[in-house]
């Protein structure tokens, strides 16, 4: 259920994108599809990091970590104004 999900920031090794993909966003989406039918990309990042953010369960996050090209899958963090 959605209550079991959290937002994760997924860091990808950009240079490891298979040649079958033209766009990194397609590769990110394909990586996500391999572990979840329903998860969607919240953001794809090009400059600050190489990767994307998405909603996953802990199990899906663990599974995604084993996919080729995935460097890290980090949970969302909440910041506060100072």
């Amino acid at each position: 259920s959605s209550s079991d999900q959290g937002t994760y920031i997924v860091h990808m090794a950009k240079s490891q994108m298979p040649s079958s993909f033209d766009l990194h966003s397609n590769w990110y989406d394909s990586s996500l599809r391999s572990i979840s039918d329903s998860a969607e990309l919240l953001y794809t990042y090009e400059n600050a990091i190489h990767g994307f953010s998405t909603r996953l369960t802990q199990e899906e996050a663990d599974s995604l970590m084993t996919q080729p090209g995935v460097i890290s899958v980090l949970p969302e963090h909440r910041y506060e104004l100072h």
């Binding site: 919240l42 990042y45 600050a48 990091i49 909440r78 910041y79 104004l81």
Partner: protein
């Protein structure tokens, strides 16, 4: 702001130090915060030329915000809410705008502090009146709204930084933080690394968790970390007691004054059945006990202005708010909704004794307005987060301090100056406090330096700001920490208080490249995936090379002693002031550590020449774990003084 330009020496006489092109600058300050109130006069583009051709940003429409609200001053406005909404659910547009519009005020305050246009006749309810301006009034502003009612989420922050880099901002200002985590887990640190690589200076607030030690946020060495100090301005308000004693507090209350007589006075702890009744939390005061009285509340837990609202709702007519040990003598002024004054801990203790022991206590409150020329100033704010750096103890943080107490800047039209729902007042400017306020001061000053020295790297700009910061008052006495009343240390003020006019001509700079920071990550023994998470590259640390955090070319020194012996630090300085012979002067407050510099003289024949030196800290006696000692290393050619703070800690 109406006072800090003068306090920082940025008056008309120093305008020629910052010869920005014509009446405007092409430097862009990006601010990640709660958005912007574009109708504020602080975003007037009068006199501004065309938007820089390098600018790739845009102005996004949304709730109560159209693209036409941007102009030649406010050249970018975006919002990032997908991460927030995926966790918190859809934004309630009756409470906040799903757009760059700032319904809170914080983001308008910070961005106008950094780079607001000049606005004459500014004040908050008549307080702090004058001409308001940001630190870089001719720079352009781009806002990235990432903070919402429920907080600021890392996926949104990263998306905003991602876009700000693509948009081509020159400075990024982030007055937010979130605890302490390793750099490879910290979205702000990761995003800041990418920005740094593109030549963008990233300035962040140090946090408001002081005066506790090791309470810093945003400590990555590629971030400029800013603590907070006071101004020479105050807003006095007397607490007058029935026993004839008066105590000076502060207040920004504007409204009908109390009658010219002493009124019944009660301690909130004696007007409540709650165990924490002294804090004036919502619903804890007994109306029958406070009606028609002045109520004394203790600071803590809930917002200061909310305590006044609670007193008012219960029928109280005034409030004396007392600091506790957590805040000491620091006086933060608020635009209370009833006559109120905030007093320091010492006065609070005396007043509390009076109100709880006198059989018929009485009091009054007299609001006195705005005074300037307060001495000593600056003093380090009690709330300003303190070192040592808990993530990397060998990097001294904060980097420096800047004005962050009782700062006037532009405000939203959607909320009153207290931010309380019950506050129906609307003001063009507000006075608030925090390292959130000091951070954009440095962001704006960095923009000024960037306009003077466009070729300088972010590290060079930070170096100039740090090595020219001052550590003493004009009489030579050290800056004070208001939390203790004693001299502050580099763990409190870093390199010292920012001094922009001297920063324009620092003589020498400590520069850093991306490669240097990658070596730093190797020195931390980061794994390859961890380095890749931070730096977005497949970087391999050279196994034949000895990496040391101590050798990161930082303009400060933090030495962690774990036994007697010698600790060596290497630095390289670049002569940006031209030819010159610099001699070193070392000061240290301990004889237990001998500090030697080799060579002791650096001779530069031309501009941009680089010279290295080594500092050896020889520890010949041990101290208890947790002991600290401080000093400084200063290079001078007679014209420039290039100072670096030293902090030695026994582990």
């Amino acid at each position: 702001t109406t006072r800090t330009p003068l306090f920082l020496g940025l008056d008309e006489h120093t305008a020629d130090l910052f010869p920005e092109a014509g009446s405007y600058s092409d430097v862009v300050v990006g601010v990640l915060d709660t958005g912007v109130w574009p109708e504020s006069k602080s975003y007037s583009d009068e006199g501004f030329g065309p938007i820089p051709s390098s600018w790739k940003g845009g102005c996004e429409a949304g709730t109560n915000f159209t693209a036409s609200l941007c102009n030649r001053k406010l050249i970018g406005a975006r919002f990032f809410a997908r991460g927030y909404e995926s966790t918190m659910g859809p934004i309630d547009e009756s409470k906040e705008s799903r757009s760059p519009r700032d319904d809170d005020g914080h983001g308008t305050h910070t961005s106008s502090t950094a780079a607001g246009s000049v606005v004459e006749g500014a004040s908050l309810l008549g307080y702090a009146s004058g001409t308001a301006r940001g630190m870089a009034p001719r720079a352009r502003v781009a806002v990235y709204k990432v903070c919402w009612l429920g907080g600021c989420f890392s996926s949104d922050i990263l998306a905003a930084i991602d876009k700000a880099i693509a948009d081509n901002v020159n400075v990024l200002s982030m007055s937010l933080g979130g605890g302490m985590s390793d750099y490879y887990r910290d979205g702000v640190a990761i995003g800041a690394f990418a920005a740094m690589e593109r030549g963008i200076l990233v300035s962040c607030s140090a946090g408001n968790a002081g005066p506790s030690s090791s309470s810093l946020s945003n400590v990555a060495p590629w971030i400029t970390t800013v603590g907070a100090g006071t101004l020479d301005r105050d807003f006095p308000a007397l607490a007058i007691l029935g026993n004839g004693k008066n105590f000076t507090g502060v207040s920004l209350f504007k409204g009908e004054a109390l009658p010219d007589k002493l009124l019944p006075f009660i301690y909130a702890g004696n007007a409540s059945n709650a165990t924490n009744g002294n804090l004036c939390m919502t619903g804890t005061l007994i109306p029958e006990k406070v009606k028609g009285k002045i109520v004394m509340c203790d600071r803590g837990i809930n917002a200061r202005v909310q305590k006044g609202d609670v007193v008012k709702a219960a029928g109280g007519v005034g409030m004396i708010l007392a600091n506790t040990a957590a805040n000491g003598e620091e006086l933060v002024a608020d635009a209370h909704l009833l006559p109120a004054t905030t007093v320091g801990e010492k006065a609070g203790d005396i007043i509390r004794h009076y109100v709880t022991t006198d059989p018929n206590p009485t009091a009054s409150i007299s609001i006195l307005g705005t005074v300037v020329g307060v001495k000593p100033s600056p003093v380090v704010a009690a709330f300003s987060s303190r070192g040592p750096n808990s993530i990397t103890p060998n990097i001294l943080k904060p980097d420096l301090i800047a004005p962050g107490v009782n700062i006037l800047a532009a405000w939203t039209g959607a909320a009153g100056p207290t931010g309380l729902a019950s506050d129906s007042r609307r003001v063009e400017f507000n006075i608030i406090s925090g390292t959130s306020m000091s951070c954009p001061h440095v962001s704006g000053l960095a923009a000024l330096l960037k306009s003077v020295h466009p070729e300088w790297s972010p590290a060079a700009i930070r170096s100039a700001l740090m090595t020219t910061a001052y550590k003493t008052y004009k009489d030579g006495k050290p800056l004070l920490d208001i939390a203790t009343g004693k001299p502050s240390t580099p763990f409190d003020h870093g390199a010292g208080h920012v001094s922009p006019t001297t920063a324009t001509n620092p003589g020498l700079i400590y520069d850093l490249t991306t490669e240097d920071y990658l070596g730093f990550l190797c020195a931390l023994n980061y794994t390859s995936p961890q380095i890749r998470s931070v730096s977005r590259r497949n970087y391999t640390c050279d196994p034949s090379k000895s990496y040391s955090v101590a050798d990161l070319n930082y303009p400060s020194f933090a030495v962690n002693v774990d036994g007697v012996g010698a600790y060596k630090y290497t630095r390289t300085v670049t002569s940006v002031g031209g030819a010159g012979t610099y001699s070193v002067k070392v000061t240290s407050e301990t004889t237990g550590v001998k500090i030697s510099v080799e060579p002791a003289v650096l001779n530069f024949k031309e501009a941009n020449e680089k010279k290295s030196y080594t500092v050896t800290f020889t520890v010949d006696s041990s101290k208890p774990s947790g002991s600290n000692s401080f000093g400084s290393i200063e290079w001078s050619d007679g014209k420039h003084v290039v100072g670096s703070p030293v902090a030695i800690s026994w582990t």
